[in-house]
Amino acid sequence: MRHNFSAWGRGELEWSLPVLRLSIEMKTKTALSAKKNIEFREVSFHINDILKRLIVSGVSLEVPEGETVVLLGRSGSGKTTLLKLINGMLLPTEGEVLIQGRSTRDWDLTRLRRGIGYVIQDAGLFPHYTVAENVALVPNLERWDAARTAARVQEMLQLVGLDPGEFENRHPRELSGGQRQRVGVARALAADPPILLMDEPFGALDPVIRAELQGEFSALARRLGKTIVFVTHDLREALLLASRIVLLEAGRIVANATPQEFLRLDHPEVRAFRSSLNAMPGAPA
């Protein structure tokens, strides 16, 4: 698969400024200008079974606009749960999650989700839709006119490094894992949502393709200026992408730091993750 770093960004600058300005004008009512885009206030979540298992407890976290916050943690630490609390796939048992100043309990969840891009590990592309139809999903739900949607699909595919002419009419089964994940990113960005949630988006890819997509995505993320919450268990990925790393252990936040600070923190779980870096032959300590 041929690619280059600038492919993610090519075409992006041409549309992003006017479109972004337009979307700000249109959405002033929904307080897009709020500095804290996502805020967790003493959030707990437990599964409502007999055991009342706590998945997340007492989490307070602010994600300022335009930042890329990486939620880092082992399996079962509650990272994905936090992500799903942001777009209302889960509602907190206690506390509040505020999106642009409004609690997810008060949002119309359909509206909220259409303003939040979502990328998951298996991409979750619709197998009965072509690549173009998958990317056009949210614009179509939002009833954009056909010409605007078609133009947007072209832009998005170019943005993620896929040639529209070659790929738009393919079905997901005719793509490689890396290509599927690129389409997943294009679909998430298509309606220009101010927030992007990513749940181990590169986790299922082979190491070479993963590194390639991580590199391209980190360049893209800087260019787009979106508020991104990114879930991973891979410290190297976190260091590459994050403006802040939030470390979770058993449903609690145990560290919240910039990547530079994070490496110097003295906490057992931080050390455990750091040693996962050192375990790599040839990796810097």
Partner: protein, 210 residues
Amino acid sequence: MSGWIFFTEHRDEILSATLDHLTLVVIAMVIAILIGVPLGMLIVQRPALRTIALGVASIFQTIPSLALFGFLIPIPFIGGIGKRTAIVALVLYALLPILRNTYVGLTGIDPAVLEAAEAMGMTPAQILFRVRFPLALAVILAGVRTATIITIGVATIAAAIGAGGLGTFIFRGVALVSDALILAGAIPAALLALLADFLLGLLERRLKVT
């Protein structure tokens, strides 16, 4: 070769009985699909209804067909002697495979696809009609195919309550100990079943999304 001579001599009768048979099957299948598919969609959303609906449909399936026809005769409106009663019984038989496959098809979808659909802001109705239903279509059709083959077979027994069709030859043949008469009913019924299986199988493969 007396069988072959019988076939050629009674060609028109056999043909018209085959058409009668086909009519019974088609009417019963259309009704069964119109009930089974929406009901299957409903029980995906309502877990409480699921056990009841699948349970009742399974019970109908376990009643021997001749007995079911017999039970229906005394029931007012839907009962009596003739085609109407037969269609009711055939619908009850066809319901289970259609209902179950609709349910299985709608629920057996890649969870990542459903998660993405929900997270993208699709409403439950949009998820049902634009994602679940198209992806379940091949599985639903497999249920329709099974139901059709069952119905073609069971419909031969409908002749016992005066519904006509190919069963007429079979019952007459049994009474008269005539192999030729039995075969005159059984062979066209078997051919119908094979043909339906083949055609619906073709359609099923075309609708399959991998």
